[in-house]
């Protein structure tokens, strides 16, 4: 029996529209559906509403940063299992640790490679 799959949904949150466009372009070409949010609050809300398979979240967003978003996703039962990949320009050990402490699954430094991001998304989703 053939089962039709709708493409997995990836939620991308970043206040930078260029990044949103780049990530969306790459992920859509790689076969994912993409929803975007331009701030942390919107990201948490959309995650709850849409139930994405994975979230790519920028750390440095105004109002609610990426760490906070991750924490909130982990706290709510309906979003707790969504894997999170954090995107950030801050990238030293202490900051990486903070990311994992908040519950993130992976960490990508900015400036980033869209292809590599796509590969990581695939890897993380593959692990689940």
């Amino acid at each position: 029996m053939s089962v039709s799959h709708s493409p997995p949904l990836v939620l991308v949150a970043d206040d930078d529209p260029d990044i949103l466009d780049l990530v969306r372009y790459r992920l859509e070409r790689s076969g994912y559906a993409v929803a975007t949010a331009s701030d942390g609050a919107e990201a948490v809300r959309l995650a709850g509403e849409l139930g994405p398979a994975l979230a790519v979240v920028d750390v440095m967003m105004p109002s609610l940063n990426g760490f906070e978003v991750t924490r909130r996703l982990r706290e709510a039962p309906e979003t707790a299992r969504i894997p999170v990949i954090l995107l950030t320009a801050k990238a030293q050990e202490a900051d990486v640790q903070q990311g994992f402490d908040a519950g993130a699954d992976d960490y990508i430094r900015k400036p980033f490679s869209p292809r590599e991001l796509s590969a990581r998304v695939q890897a993380v989703l593959g692990r689940r």
């Binding site: 466009d21 780049l22 372009y25 070409r29 030293q92 400036p111 980033f112 869209p114």
Partner: protein, 335 residues
């Protein structure tokens, strides 16, 4: 007198008219320009995205102004990406007219044009620009130097690291920009930075040590631990901060010793670093600092204990001589 006033009145009236004309003309020109640009951009952005985000794109024949717009769109996107995407951008720009134009503009007699050129060359990601940018690093104009430094960083030009470190130390480029550029160059700059950590000039050592906190890795622990005993307080403080940023467990002992430093900001950075390192053995010493030291270093110590051993903090805060910083840290823990 009356004539003078008359002339003045006429001049002023003419000036007014001049401004009015300038206002109207400029507004019209700017509006047209903007419309044209947004139309162009809407058309060319998908192309730029495709090229940068990783597809092999068939580039259509473009007019000169379209090419310029595309170059700009790609340039902006290139700031966000690295790795294969940057290489694709570089491949696109290599040998093209926009690239050559900007290279030439590096020798323009107007400083602002040189600065813009230096900046754009960084976006174009073509390593061929490195020698010209290195020259621009010594330009007489501050903005040009800053843009050149930033672009050299973006190009990841390892051969520029020495010059960038020099620029940082000589303050010929704003500190933030030189710093960022060196970080962008990344591991290739490490050799120069490590060498600098042994320089006779304390300002250079301090800069090097701070950079190692961002660029370095575990192999730099030994160097940084030594630097915590440096004769210069600035170096000691930054070495402590660097160890914290690297979350270096090996540095814990040196950091704990640094809590006894004469200089308060060394104690401050040592306390903060211990919070990141997570050294439980240092907690009693940190608690003492939180009770007795100056405002800033006491608070740093209290914050560190909150990270490392929250239970110990709550316990210490309950005693009568706890002091304001322990109280604050404890209250924040319970929030």
């Amino acid at each position: 007198m009356l004539e003078a006033l008359g002339i003045a009145a006429l001049t002023l009236a003419a000036l007014s008219a001049g401004f009015l004309i300038a206002l109207v003309a400029r507004r019209g020109a700017l509006a047209r320009e903007e419309r044209r640009r947004s139309e162009l951009e809407a058309r060319l952005r998908p192309l730029a995205l495709a090229l940068v985000a990783g597809d092999d794109v068939e580039l259509p024949e473009l007019e000169a102004d379209e090419r310029a717009m595309l170059a700009e769109a790609i340039g902006r996107l290139s700031r966000r990406v690295t790795g294969d995407a940057r290489r694709r951008v570089a491949a696109y720009f290599a040998g093209t007219t926009p690239f050559d134009a900007e290279l030439r503009a590096l020798r323009d007699r107007r400083a602002w044009r040189r600065a813009t050129a230096a900046y754009r060359l960084g976006d174009m990601a073509c390593g061929d620009a490195t020698p010209a940018l290195l020259d621009a690093l010594a330009d007489s104009d501050a903005d040009v130097r800053a843009a050149a430094a930033r672009s050299l960083g973006r190009l990841g030009a390892g051969e520029a690291s020495g010059a960038l470190v020099e620029a940082l130390v000589a303050s010929s480029v704003p500190r933030a920009i030189a710093f960022r550029a060196i970080l962008d160059v990344g591991p290739d700059a490490l050799r120069d930075v490590r060498r600098l950590a042994a320089d006779p000039d304390p300002a250079l050592r301090a800069a090097a040590v701070e950079l190692l906190g961002w660029l370095g890795d575990a192999s730099d622990d030994a160097l940084l631990i030594d630097a915590v005993d440096d004769p210069s307080a600035e170096v000691r403080a930054r070495a402590a901060a660097a160890l914290g940023r690297l979350a270096s467990a090996d540095g814990a002992e040196a950091l704990t010793r640094a809590l006894d430093d004469r200089v308060y900001f060394v104690r401050l950075h040592a306390a903060r670093a211990l919070g990141h390192v997570g050294e439980r053995d240092a907690v009693p010493r940190l608690l003492r600092q939180a009770r007795e030291d100056r405002f800033e270093s006491a608070r740093a110590a209290a914050d560190a204990v909150a990270r490392v051993d929250p239970d110990a903090l709550l316990e210490a805060a309950a005693s009568s001589d706890a002091g304001p910083h322990l109280h604050e840290a404890a209250d924040l823990l319970r929030v």
